[in-house]
Symmetry: C2
Amino acid sequence: MTAPSPLFGKIALIGAGLIGSSIAHASRRAGLAEHIAAYIPRDTTRARAEKSGFADSLHSELAAAVSDANLVILATPLGTLADLAQRAAPHLNPGVILTDVGSVKASVIRDVKPHVPPGVHFIPGHPVAGTEQSGPEAGFAELFDGRWCILTPLSGTDPQALEKLKQFWRGCGSNVEIMDAEHHDLVLAITSHVPHLIAYNIVGTAADLETVRQGEVIKYSASGFRDFTRIAASDPTMWRDIFLNNRDAVLEMLGRFNEDLAALQRAVRWGDGDALFRLFTRTRAIRRSVVEAGQDTPKPNFGRLSPTPRRRS
Amino acid sequence: MTAPSPLFGKIALIGAGLIGSSIAHASRRAGLAEHIAAYIPRDTTRARAEKSGFADSLHSELAAAVSDANLVILATPLGTLADLAQRAAPHLNPGVILTDVGSVKASVIRDVKPHVPPGVHFIPGHPVAGTEQSGPEAGFAELFDGRWCILTPLSGTDPQALEKLKQFWRGCGSNVEIMDAEHHDLVLAITSHVPHLIAYNIVGTAADLETVRQGEVIKYSASGFRDFTRIAASDPTMWRDIFLNNRDAVLEMLGRFNEDLAALQRAVRWGDGDALFRLFTRTRAIRRSVVEAGQDTPKPNFGRLSPTPRRRS
């Protein structure tokens, strides 16, 4: 009995931060590639990736990383994709699948598609998973397990290439969903981008108060605030690029958030307890659905344990 | 060698939800009381508390629960405290310490103080700890470990009574801080009340969209939204009462949040990447401080594990 041959001969990762390195770990776990190459131009970052050891070869030159690859995955911040696609294009053979992991899809199509050579299968993708950490050490094989990867293929996409990319993501532990780029960007605006924006915002607000000291905000953060600080610790470059590239959908969803918040503010001001109670009861049901869908732990406080008591008073 | 005698002979818990039952568990763990009594008027809830077995006696009558108690702890939603204090007052002996665990302190003083009999030591308190769960089964002994309990004693409070209550909370695993009620209410407005309000709000906004289905919001919630659903699953009655009783501080902090969000919205609209990047970098440092202060886990994603992969596509 021989082992089944891997899905791809060579996978080239362009960038190897949290998502790129997790893809490498997950690909290895499932034996999805014979060779995993990673393009990491910065010497210090490449040295860190070397230590983590998740790739078979690390490259300071883009051409060397992508040449002879069967699957090329763009895994850098959105603002870098146009340039990288243009530079990679001359080195892509016909038949190669070119994909990405960006959190916005219309902008990726705008930036990458013009550079895709004939015969290369460009299929935009977005694994909906992550942590607040970044860098090549942050990746782990289980990141995509039970999460969803959304692919937003363009019309005329080769069905076999699409099927192969689906198999790849399933091999990494994901479920796969297909939708169009515009809808993806709207869905992610409300499930991810606006939540991040308001988390960044409230952490900024709390840091700037003159009536409450920052030390107090930190000491008493277990009352709710600490959850927002986790999200607000996400990678600044990545998130800047998301907001610059999904402006319309973010503003649309933020407009709705603001409308609803104005109504809630009014309920607080006028002491409308019934309105508050009604909302707080509805939202509880949504939590149950998230847990039932396997998208979060049922454990209280996300299963966080209290730290060892520290005596400071 | 004999065991040291407990700090209190009898503790009476008025209400035994998440906080009340956790106090009982923590008191037992440290041997802080000879007897723990709990007043739970509703038959079904009392039966549930009976099963959990955290109290030595359960009472449907307030007088029986509090008579001969040395420490009486009000642990019900804020809206019920005036009535309970009034009804308990005739049964409190001089020398008793009367405290509470409410998330707003000025309103507790307004509601409870007028009913406190001479010789009873009324010391408002707030253990800054919790989970999104509620009810008598939700409590556990470690809830207060390493967290802060804020006491807001009135002027003229007996120093020995205050010291004894501090010892009690330290015995439960807490650090203890003293501040005045108005400042407490401002600090909690920004660290807890406004974060809860905006979490409730965005979960409501997401549920009401017509362009994105609720099922999609739930499927892709691991991208940020799920964290907000945990907070928005907190007890509706408790949180209604918090907003009704800390209106001014909540509106003040919400006003600042809204100002900052308007500026952030403008940065998104005009593509001001530098402004976004600056904020996102500052907020990252706050997260580090929260973790360094022992108020949250350093583990990515709060240490949540991915669930077992479920195949649904």
